[in-house]
C-alpha cells in the first residue's frame, strides 16, 4: 500500500502539510507530494479539499529472490527455560496446528536444549515432528549459537512459516535469524491468517504506537517469520497417544562471544501472579498520581484480584513495571478486568482484550477503552472507586 497525491488534482493549497505527524508532505513547485518518510498512518487521507490524496495498492516489482515453492511447512520455535518448554510455545503449537490445517501442511517444533521428554510433550500438544538439538551450549540463552543453529536448520529444511514467542529470548535472537536469511520478521502479532489466494501469511499487529492495527505481508521472501506474545493464542488439544517423530540434530560449528555468568530470578511483586489472576483491577494515567494506586489496591483486594497498570502509569513511575499490562508488558486474560482511568491505546488493549468481561471507568466517554468494554461507567474516577469500595465493604459486612 502507498499513499500518493495525484499531481493533476493538487491545487497547491498546502492544507495537508500540517496533517502529517511525520512531516512527510512537502511542497515542491507549488504542488504537494509525499516523500519517503510516509509511515502510511493515513492521517492525511481526508484533509484534501480536492480529494487528491489517495491510497494505492501497488503491484510489487521486486524480484523473487529464490523459488518460494520449495519452502514448505510451519515451524514453531519451542523456547525452553531451565530445561522446560515455556507456555507460549504450546500456545503457538495450537495456532500452528490451525494454520497447518488450512495450508494442508506439516507442523514442526524446533527445540534447543531441554530433554526428550519435553520434545514428546510438544508432539502430544500437536507437533508432527520435533527437530531437537540437545547440545549443552543451548542450556543458557546466548544469541549467537541460537541464531547460527536456527539459520542452518532453515537452510537445510526450508520452512514456509516460523512462529516464535515474543519473549525476551525470541525478540532478541529472531531478528538475527531474519537478517541472515534475508527475510521479513513481524513482531508481536495479535492474529494470523492465511491468504486464501496466495497462501501467504497475513500477520496482524498494532502499528503506530498501538493506535491502529496493520496487516503485514512478506510476499517475496521465505520463511515468513512472526513473533507472538504469550497468552494471545490458545492451546490446542492434548492427546496422550498422538504420534510424531523426533529428529535429533547435531550442533554445527557454534561459537559465542557472549557468556551468561549467572541468572537471577525475581519474585513477582504482585500478591497474585497477574497472568493467573481471575480478577485484575488496573490503573492508568487518569489516576493522576502514585497515591491513586492505593485505591486500586484496596479495590483489588476486596475483589481478591491483582493490580495491573497501563504503560502511561508505569512510565510516570507510579507503579513497578511488573504490573504493566499491554504490548510491552504482560498479556492477561482474567475473568474480570476493571480498567480505571485507562484511555485504551491499542498497545494496552492487545494485552487485555481477551479478558472474559471488561469493565471500564473513565471520565471521557470517547475513550477507546469503552470500545472493548462490556460495561462502562463514565464519571470521576475517585468518586466512583471510592463509592464502589464503600459499597463492597458494606456488602462484605
Amino acid at each position: 500500500m502507498l499513499i500518493i497525491i495525484e499531481q493533476d488534482k493538487c491545487i497547491g493549497c498546502a492544507v495537508c502539510i500540517e496533517s502529517c505527524p511525520y512531516s512527510a508532505i512537502v511542497m515542491t513547485d507549488e504542488k504537494a507530494s509525499i516523500n519517503e518518510y510516509c509511515q502510511l498512518c493515513r492521517a492525511c487521507l481526508n484533509v484534501c479539499p480536492e480529494g487528491a490524496i489517495v491510497e494505492r495498492t501497488e503491484t510489487s516489482d521486486i524480484q523473487v529472490s529464490h523459488d518460494l515453492s520449495t519452502y514448505k511447512g510451519i515451524w514453531v520455535f519451542a523456547e525452553q527455560r531451565d530445561g522446560y518448554v515455556s507456555a507460549v510455545s504450546y500456545e503457538l503449537i495450537g495456532e500452528g496446528r490451525r494454520l497447518a490445517g488450512e495450508l494442508k501442511t506439516n507442523l514442526s517444533a524446533v527445540l534447543f536444549g531441554s530433554s526428550e521428554k519435553e520434545a514428546e510433550e510438544l508432539i502430544r500438544w500437536g507437533a508432527d515432528q520435533v527437530y531437537w538439538c540437545d547440545d549443552p551450549i543451548f542450556e543458557k540463552f546466548n544469541d549467537e549459537p541460537y541464531s547460527q543453529q536456527f539459520v542452518s536448520l532453515i537452510n537445510e529444511f526450508k520452512p514456509a512459516i516460523i512462529l516464535c514467542g515474543a519473549t525476551a529470548i525470541g525478540r532478541s535472537f529472531m531478528p538475527r535469524v531474519a537478517a541472515r536469511v534475508r527475510t521479513g520478521l513481524t513482531a508481536d502479532c495479535t492474529a494470523l491468517q492465511i491468504d486464501k489466494e496466495t497462501g501467504n501469511l497475513i500477520q496482524i499487529r498494532p502499528a503506530f504506537g498501538g493506535n491502529i492495527m496493520a496487516s503485514i505481508l512478506c510476499p517475496n521472501h521465505r520463511p515468513q517469520i512472526a513473533t507472538v506474545r504469550p497468552r494471545v493464542m490458545k492451546r490446542g488439544d492434548y492427546k496422550e497417544d498422538r504420534k510424531g517423530e523426533i529428529i535429533k540434530i547435531r550442533a554445527v560449528n557454534l561459537n559465542s562471544n557472549t557468556e551468561v555468568l549467572n541468572s537471577h530470578k525475581e519474585p513477582s511483586y504482585c500478591k497474585v501472579n497477574l497472568q493467573e489472576a481471575e480478577v485484575i483491577v488496573s490503573g492508568g494515567r487518569g489516576l493522576g498520581n502514585a497515591k491513586g494506586f492505593e485505591l486500586i489496591e484496596e479495590l483489588a483486594s476486596l475483589l481478591n484480584g491483582s493490580v495491573g497498570a497501563s504503560r502511561a502509569a508505569v512510565d510516570e513511575g507510579w507503579i513497578a513495571y511488573s504490573h504493566q499490562v499491554g504490548q510491552t508488558g504482560k498479556t492477561v486474560c482474567p475473568k474480570i478486568y476493571i480498567a480505571c482511568g485507562i484511555s485504551g491505546a491499542v498497545q494496552h488493549l492487545v494485552g487485555m482484550s481477551s479478558s472474559d468481561i471488561i469493565i471500564a471507568i473513565n471520565k471521557n466517554p470517547e475513550a477507546p477503552i469503552f470500545n472493548v468494554a462490556n460495561y462502562g461507567i463514565v464519571g470521576d474516577l475517585y468518586e466512583v472507586i471510592g463509592l464502589l469500595i464503600k459499597r463492597l465493604k458494606e456488602t462484605k459486612g
Binding site: 496533517s19 505527524p21 519517503e36 518518510y37 509511515q39 493515513r42 492521517a43 492525511c44 487521507l45 510489487s60 521486486i62 543458557k140 540463552f141 544469541d143 549467537e144 525476551a168 525478540r171 531478528p175 538475527r176 537478517a179 534475508r182 513482531a187 508481536d188 503506530f208 498501538g210 493506535n211 491502529i212 492495527m213 503485514i216 505481508l217 512478506c218 559465542s256 562471544n257 557472549t258 555468568l261 549467572n262 541468572s263 537471577h264 475483589l303 513495571y321 504490548q327 510491552t328 474480570i336 491505546a345 488493549l349 471488561i358 469493565i359 477507546p368 470500545n371 472493548v372 462490556n374 460495561y375 462502562g376 461507567i377 464519571g379 468518586e383 466512583v384 463509592l387 464502589l388 459499597r391
Partner: protein, 260 residues
C-alpha cells in the same frame, strides 16, 4: 573507545488517537521527540565515555528534519552527529533499516554500539539485533545495568522474562538498553551552545556504499497490506444515572458474575 549511539526521531505517540469512523489518526500538534528509550542509550554512551574515555557519535536515519533530534543529542554532550538521509531509503522496514545502519557504522568505525530497546512508534525491537548480525558482532538486548567495562570485555545485566542474567561479552558489541539503566542528563548551557553551531555530517546511500536493492522499499521483505481500526465490541453496556446508581448497577453485575 569509539561509541556509536543510534537514535530515532518519533512522533510522541502517547497523544495520538484514531478516528474509528474514518480510520485516520487524529493529530493535534503531536510533537516529534527523540525515542524515549534512545535517551537512555545516549546517556549510557556519555557515562561510558566519562569512564573509559573516547568519542560518542550519535547516528540517525531519517528525514532532514531529524536534525533537531541530533542537535538535542549534541546538547547533552555527544561529540559528533551523523544524519543518514536519502530518498532511496523510502519505505524501509526493519531489515532494510538495519542494513542501512550497518553500512553506515561500518564506514564510521566503532567499538561499542548502543541503541534503545525499541522505538515507541513501531515497538519491534528488531533493528539493534539485526544490525549486530550484519556486523557479525555479538549483541545483548534489554540491558538494565552495566557492571564492568574494559578494553576487551563488558559485563552487563540483561532483563529476561522472569528476572535477569549477568552476561559477559567481548568488544565490539551492540547493546540495546531499557530505561532502568540510567536517568538521561539534561542539556547544559555549554552543550546547547555547541549544539547550535555544530556541523551535522550527512551521509547518503552512495556514501555508505549500500546497494539500491538492499535499501528502502526495494530492500524491504515486508509490506503493509492494510491498516484498520481495532474492532469494537458490540454488546457493551454503559451504566446510566447518578454515580450512586451506576455503582449499584456495577455491584449487581459483579454479583451476577459471581465475583462477590
Amino acid at each position: 573507545m569509539r561509541f556509536i549511539v543510534c537514535i530515532k526521531q518519533v512522533p510522541d505517540t502517547a497523544e495520538v488517537r484514531i478516528n474509528p469512523e474514518t480510520n485516520t489518526l487524529i493529530r493535534d500538534g503531536v510533537p516529534s521527540i527523540i525515542n524515549p528509550y534512545d535517551m537512555h542509550a545516549i546517556e549510557a554512551g556519555l557515562a561510558l565515555r566519562e569512564k573509559v574515555g573516547g568519542k560518542v557519535t550519535v547516528l540517525t536515519m531519517g528525514p532532514p528534519q531529524a536534525e533537531t533530534a541530533l542537535r538535542e543529542a549534541l546538547s547533552m554532550g555527544v561529540d559528533e552527529a551523523v544524519l543518514l538521509t536519502d530518498r532511496a531509503f523510502a519505505g524501509s522496514d526493519t531489515w532494510a533499516t538495519s542494513y542501512t545502519l550497518f553500512k553506515a557504522v561500518t564506514k564510521l568505525g566503532f567499538d561499542l554500539i548502543i541503541c534503545g530497546k525499541q522505538a515507541i512508534d513501531g515497538d519491534t525491537a528488531q533493528v539493534g539485533p539485526e544490525m549486530a548480525e550484519f556486523l557479525k558482532i555479538p549483541h545483548i538486548a534489554y540491558v538494565k545495568a552495566i557492571e564492568h567495562i574494559d578494553e576487551k570485555n563488558i559485563i552487563v545485566q540483561r532483563m529476561m522474562d522472569e528476572g535477569y542474567d549477568v552476561v559477559k561479552s567481548t568488544i565490539p558489541v551492540l547493546l540495546t538498553v531499557v530505561k532502568e539503566l540510567n536517568i538521561p542528563r539534561l542539556p547544559s548551557l555549554k552543550g546547547k551552545m555547541f549544539a547550535k553551531k555544530a556541523e551535522i555530517k550527512k551521509m547518503t546511500r552512495e556514501m555508505i556504499s549500500a546497494e539500491e536493492e538492499n535499501v528502502g522499499l526495494k530492500g524491504s521483505p515486508t509490506t503493509v497490506q492494510n491498516i484498520f481500526a481495532p474492532e469494537i465490541k458490540k454488546d457493551r453496556k454503559l451504566f446510566t444515572g447518578t454515580t450512586d446508581e451506576q455503582v449499584n448497577q456495577l455491584i449487581e453485575t459483579l454479583r451476577g458474575l459471581k465475583c462477590l
